[in-house]
Symmetry: C2
Subunit: 163 residues, 2 copies
C-alpha cells in the first residue's frame, strides 16, 4: 500500500509552457456503495487497477496493480456503469518537482487541473506562475466526481460559489 | 478475462471421504453499488484481487490478479466494510474432475458447499455419492451473500422454503 498525498490546482492556461509528450488516459470506475474507489485506467498499451480508501485530509491509502490492457478494455466496457473520464496527461518539471497536468476532454473539455504528489502533508514546494486557485479539498475535482458530474454541466466554473 | 462456469451442491457430510490438505481462506468484499463483485482473498501467504461481473445463467466474467499478502491484509482491514467470510477449502478428485469443498467457519459454521468448475454450461459430469441438493441458482450461497447474511442466522437450513 502507498499513501497518496497530493495538492491540486487550477491553472492559467495562457501562462503554461508548451505541452509535449502527452499521455492519453481513459479511466472508469466500479460503482461502490461506500467511499472506497475502484478505478480502471487505460493508457496506450498499459493499464492499472487501483483501489483507494477514504481520504483523510489530503492523504489516501492507495493500492495499484498493472493489469493487461485487454482486461482493462473489457472492464471499462462491462463493469464501469457510470461512463469514463478522458484526458491527456503532461508532466512539467518545476524547481525539482514534477507536476502532472491533466487536460480533460469529452464532457470535461475546458478543464485543466495540475497535481503535485508530495511525500508528506507538510512538504514545502514552489508554486509555478501558471498555477491559480488550489482545489485540493474541493470534491468536484476528483476524477470520480468529474465522471458523475462533468465540468461542462457545471452551472458556474469558478470555485467561489461553492465555498 | 476468464468466464467462470460453476455448479454448486450441498453435501451429505457423513458420506464424504477423509478431508486432507485444506487451505485456509479469508475473504472480504468492497461494497459495490451494482452487481459487480470486488473480492479480496487471502490464503496463507498468497492473495488475490478478483472482479466479477454480472451472472448470466451459471456463467460470470471474472478478472483475477495476484497481490501481495500484506496489501490484502490492509484491504481486508480498511476497505472491506461488511466483514469477512472464513472457510477451509479441500480438493476432491472424482472421475477425472476436481471438486472444491468449502467448509465454512465463524458465522457460517455448519455449512459445507461443493463446487465444480466446468468449461461449458452443458458439460456432463458424474455426481459423487456425497453430493446432495444443487444450489447453483440459490443466491444465498454466494460468498458475498454468506458474508452479509451468514448461515448461522438463517431461520431454516433447508432450501425448500425458499423455492
Amino acid at each position: 500500500m502507498a499513501v497518496e498525498i497530493e495538492r491540486k490546482f487550477l491553472v492559467h492556461p495562457d501562462r503554461l509552457p508548451s505541452l509535449v509528450d502527452g499521455q492519453r488516459i481513459v479511466q472508469g470506475y466500479i460503482a461502490t456503495a461506500d467511499r472506497t474507489t475502484v478505478r480502471i485506467r487505460l493508457s496506450d498499451q498499459q493499464a492499472w487497477l487501483t483501489l483507494k480508501g477514504l481520504t483523510t485530509g489530503i492523504s489516501r491509502a492507495e493500492f495499484e496493480y498493472p493489469i493487461p490492457a485487454a482486461d482493462a478494455r473489457q472492464m471499462l466496457d462491462q463493469l464501469c456503469s457510470g461512463g469514463v473520464v478522458e484526458k491527456t496527461r503532461y508532466r512539467i518539471k518545476h524547481e525539482e518537482l514534477t507536476w502532472e497536468l491533466d487536460v480533460f476532454e469529452g464532457s470535461n473539455c475546458g478543464l485543466i487541473v495540475a497535481e503535485l504528489e508530495l511525500s508528506s502533508e507538510t512538504q514545502a514546494f514552489a508554486l509555478p506562475v501558471w498555477a491559480s486557485e488550489e482545489v485540493s479539498h474541493d470534491p468536484r475535482y476528483t476524477n470520480l466526481a468529474l465522471m458523475l458530474h462533468p465540468y461542462q454541466q457545471w452551472e458556474c466554473h469558478g470555485t467561489d460559489t461553492y465555498r
